[in-house]
């Protein structure tokens, strides 16, 4: 059995291994970083720590978030460093078995391919499993 923290991006359901997730919270004021890659949404002050924020929509090549929508943050641990991921909405933590898992189809865009490990077939749709290390890789 695997446990995933789920969230939505542009109406789709994504999941990250629960062990990698430190916390999920409302978004903070971000300080933009000029000259940084577009995926970097800025720096936030997370209880005194300066944490890098990555906009998952941009990272996954999805359309930008409507200005009015308040994004949420999923903070993950990468090699001891906390990194926050901007998502649309936080969902439940779901338990899924290996039986429902399938690797991504060959037709998946090559740019996104390394980021998505595969999909769990849930009753009400697909849960796309993200490879966190790839997602935050520069």
């Amino acid at each position: 059995m695997s446990q995933y923290v789920t969230f939505t991006l542009d109406g789709r359901l994504y999941g990250i291994d629960v062990i990698r997730v430190q916390e999920a919270l409302r978004s903070h004021t971000r300080t933009r970083v000029p000259l940084a890659p577009a995926t970097i949404a800025g720096l936030v002050n997370l209880r005194g720590q300066v944490v890098l924020t990555i906009d998952l929509r941009i990272r996954l090549g999805l359309p930008g978030r409507p200005d009015l929508d308040e994004p949420m943050m999923v903070v993950v641990q990468i090699a001891g460093e906390a990194i926050s991921l901007l998502v649309d909405e936080i969902g439940d933590v779901v338990d899924v078995g290996p039986a429902s898992f399938e690797t991504p189809p060959d037709t998946l865009d090559a740019a996104v391919r390394p980021l998505i490990r595969g999909a769990h077939k849930l009753d009400d749709g697909l849960l796309l499993v993200l490879d966190v290390d790839e997602v935050v890789a520069a």
């Binding site: 004021t29 300080t31 000029p34 000259l35 002050n45 300066v50 990194i83 935050v136």
Partner: protein
Amino acid sequence: MEDIDEIVREFLVESYENLDQLDRDLVALEKSPGSREYLSSIFRTIHTIKGTSGFLAFGRLERVTHVGENLLVELRDGVRSMDQRTTDVLLRMTDCVREILTHIEADGSEGEVPIDSVIEAVDAIRNGVVPDEVVEAPVAVVQNAPVEAAVPVPKKIGSRAPRTDKVAAAAATSAVIGAPALPEIEPEPVAAPTPTVTTGSTTVQPLVPTQTGAPAAEQLSDEVVTGLRGAADTSIRVDVDLLDALMRQVGELVLTRNQISRLATGTDDVDLSRSAQRLNLIAGELQEGVMKTRMQPIEHVWSKMPRIVRDLAAACKREVHLEMTGGDTELDRGLLEAVKDPLTHLVRNAVDHGIEPAEERVAAGKPAKGVLTLRAYHSGGQVVVEVADDGRGVDTDRVAAKALEKGLRTVEQLDAASHPDLLQLLFVPGFSTAAAVTNVSGRGVGMDVVRTKVEAIGGTVDIDSTLGVGTVWRLRIPLTLAIMPALTVECSGDLYAVPQINLLELVALDGQRSGSGIEYVHSAPVYRLRGDLLPLVSLAGALGLEQDTHDRDQTSVIAVVQADQQRFGLLVDRVLNTEEIVVKPLSSRLRSIGVYAGATVLGDGRVALILDVQAIARRAIVGDLETVSSEARRRAQRAVERPAEVEQMLVVRVGERAVAMPLASVARLEHLRAEHLELVGGREVVRYRGSILPLARLGALLGSYSEPSPNGELLVVVFTRGTRSAGLVVDKILDIVDDDVAQHSDIEDHGLLGSTVLGDRVTELLNVREAILMADASFYDATLDTTDAQGASDLVGALR
């Protein structure tokens, strides 16, 4: 098992420390061979390691230290005196010990570190097997007079505590080595050397008989009591990680304090503001205290220097005296670690390149022994570390020549460069003046690496050098990394922190005047700061931020900053205030951008990026310089190529003919009054600049008629070679044109070399040499020194 590991670790930590001390003591001992203080200290160190390694069953380590100790006993007992070879061997032994320790640290075992050669070397010394110099007293007696057990091994770990006679005596019976103990050495050391020598097969006088006959043991214990490591009793070892964690937490506390202070200033709550003040005070003191715990005297780094200098001086055949002052100046531990390499590099450099060989020094009227001075002191919230030598200094001419050769700068740039500017070239990547690559330095990685490393910790490097007198390298290092004062500025709606260390001054541009305050040199904005033009860099521009509001008036403050000796103005929208900021490391994903030194959390909880002013300077200014220099390189290349094809020619009219001569050979054009002409032996001359200038009429030479000029003026082309000058009288200067050598035809005539097409006209090429010889037959006779290569270029077609 855990306990054993703990013991081993403690042993390692302590041994490393002791070995550093040992290096220092050995080098010091070599200088003052009679010093019992150093000898005892060395002896104690080796002895402790030997004892502990025996206890922990590190056999190899024990064997190495054992033979070393044997040698030391002889030294201590005055059987032999310290000389360079002995020092070499002892240092080798130290290195071997260190190697074994490293191995133990790595995998808990001694590994296969070769020890036999070291043991042999030590034994060779002791047995007096000296192939080259037999002046040494061959103490072939040691086999008979075992002195190994002079001071026996106390079987306890980390015996930093003073050892007393009692301990020594008590342990004397349990000497590890199995050699017959000579307990009488302890109470009666004077006796010790005597048997050692006399029982020998050869009658040998020890070079230095027992020093003052002082009883070694007593003195030993005395010294230990007042000892070098007396501080051990009042200090404890603390894990560095713990200190780092403490420092971080204090950083957080300072941030919180900033926030509370900000809140408190906004209220009328007296209690709150009183508490805030109190918090302010306590947090400040705590911060200072914790910072102090991380402070270490710079001696920790310097302790390695005597050894380095000694080895290096020997390798480079230099005589160097090392002086160190201010070793107790304290620096944050992390910073100390960071300056270790740069400092070592500078020291190596000073010995290798700075200080001349003895004979050269004597020839220059300096003492044969060079002095290398390390000096550390506090100055303006920074620690200054100087590495000064009294060597040959930096030859800026050579530096300039090198920079030119490598295409780093152009001739014009070099001509305009001041002495300090030229010295700065040493820091340019890829620059190295070392004529020969030695083992020590001159591999092309040099001062730029030093600079990069020092700047990485927020410090700076300067050089000051006088040719023939010496060189001073000056490192300025902040006291601590974690917390620093900074100026917060606003730019395009975001806040940025500018480290105070880079900041020189702030210039507020008047709202109305701001348009006129900034001027442009072509496209580069500049500001007249007290009469000098200050180059400006727009922060928004440097960060690639679109100034959407594009209100020029909004840019209202110039932060004058200094980076790499380069002063420039950073244009920002607004200056907020200065505060103590806690530097947070930047995510590695952002570090590669290179413009930010870190991030920080401001008093209001906002995150602000800390600007790396040096990097911005390089981006904005040096970046331009590089394009300039590559442009210059291209131009220089063209200049090199050009003489083969194109040459600038001065075209004059003589009568009806146009005649060309290479411009490079022409010194000057002059108008002279015809009535000033005088005759000397049938030749026309004129007094010109205090000497006599012989003249020749070009028209006469070429056989063409030239009309005397109506206004009585003569136009003279003056050629100069060395101190001699000669003039050719022409009718008119027509033009200066580029001559394509490829178009030359070789139709020769009297006084001509040929003809060429210049500006769509066939023009004759003057044989300048022939023409001048007509004016002054001995013009080319005088031999010139090579600096005046002009003479060679008088011929048409010759290279400039």
